[in-house]
Subunit: 130 residues, 2 copies
DNA sequence: CGGAATCCTATTTGATACTG
DNA sequence: CAGTATCAAATAGGATTCCG
């Protein structure tokens, strides 16, 4: 019996063509991307930035609980991935604005429904757990 | 200047109402849910299961590179979260089927576009990095 | 086959202090 | 303000062995 024939009615399989066999390759670059994007703070920062450009201190306040180290590290990773743009102004005191690139916006648009779902279902899910 | 007025034209802010202030609370249950869902193997297993019920060995093969420990651990977490259903048949040799719950399907439907996007953009993103 | 238990390593994360 | 550096702790992850 094939997997495709065991799929519940009403649930189409929309997996990317690249995974026709249903196997997620170990060395696949998408693994790296997913790891960056779905990192503990990655999602939160991308979501926060989806509201518009923001400064370091603003991001730190929004991603409540993040340390300076992780904020810097995560922002760097997202910047290297071409999802976040960093613009430092040569003023005293320093002012640095972070914003999403076009690609970053594309991604955040997919992340928003996910986070919204997490918010809506969080109580039900966490409840009933020890 | 408010954040909402700094939002680029054409990019609506669709954040959940609960985050009207744009702050992601540290103790929020949704953090836990997001952590489970966006864990290294969580996404992959949920996606694999979105194609229909599958056995332990099949999941292990699909999430290439996963260890038995992490497979067991991740499946348990997802089961406790009410996203995955485990059905063990009392036969020799043992046969255990895993499948998504309704809530799990809801979630996987949101995850699919994300993973598809990661697949499509992975090469561009990983390229240009040291 | 489908795990559970154990041991050990690697990566992540946080707290703290310091700086241009 | 916007970071960097350092160290310690926590957690994730892997390899191996064993079991019903």
């Amino acid at each position: 019996m094939e997997v495709s024939s065991r799929r519940p009615a009403g649930h189409a399989s929309p997996l990317p063509p690249a995974l026709a066999d249903g196997v997620f390759p170990a060395g696949c670059p998408s693994r790296t991307v997913l790891d960056h994007v779905t990192s503990k703070w990655g999602v939160l920062l991308l979501l926060a930035l989806s509201e518009g450009p923001q400064r370091w201190s603003e991001l730190r306040r929004r991603a409540e609980g993040i340390s300076e180290k992780m904020l810097a590290q995560t922002l760097k990773t997202l910047e290297r991935d071409g999802l976040v743009r960093r613009e430092a102004q040569p003023v005293i005191p320093p002012r640095v604005d972070y914003s999403l690139t076009e690609r970053g916006y594309e991604l955040s648009a997919l992340l928003v429904p996910l986070v919204a779902w997490a918010f809506e279902n969080a109580d039900d899910i966490v409840k009933g757990q020890p």
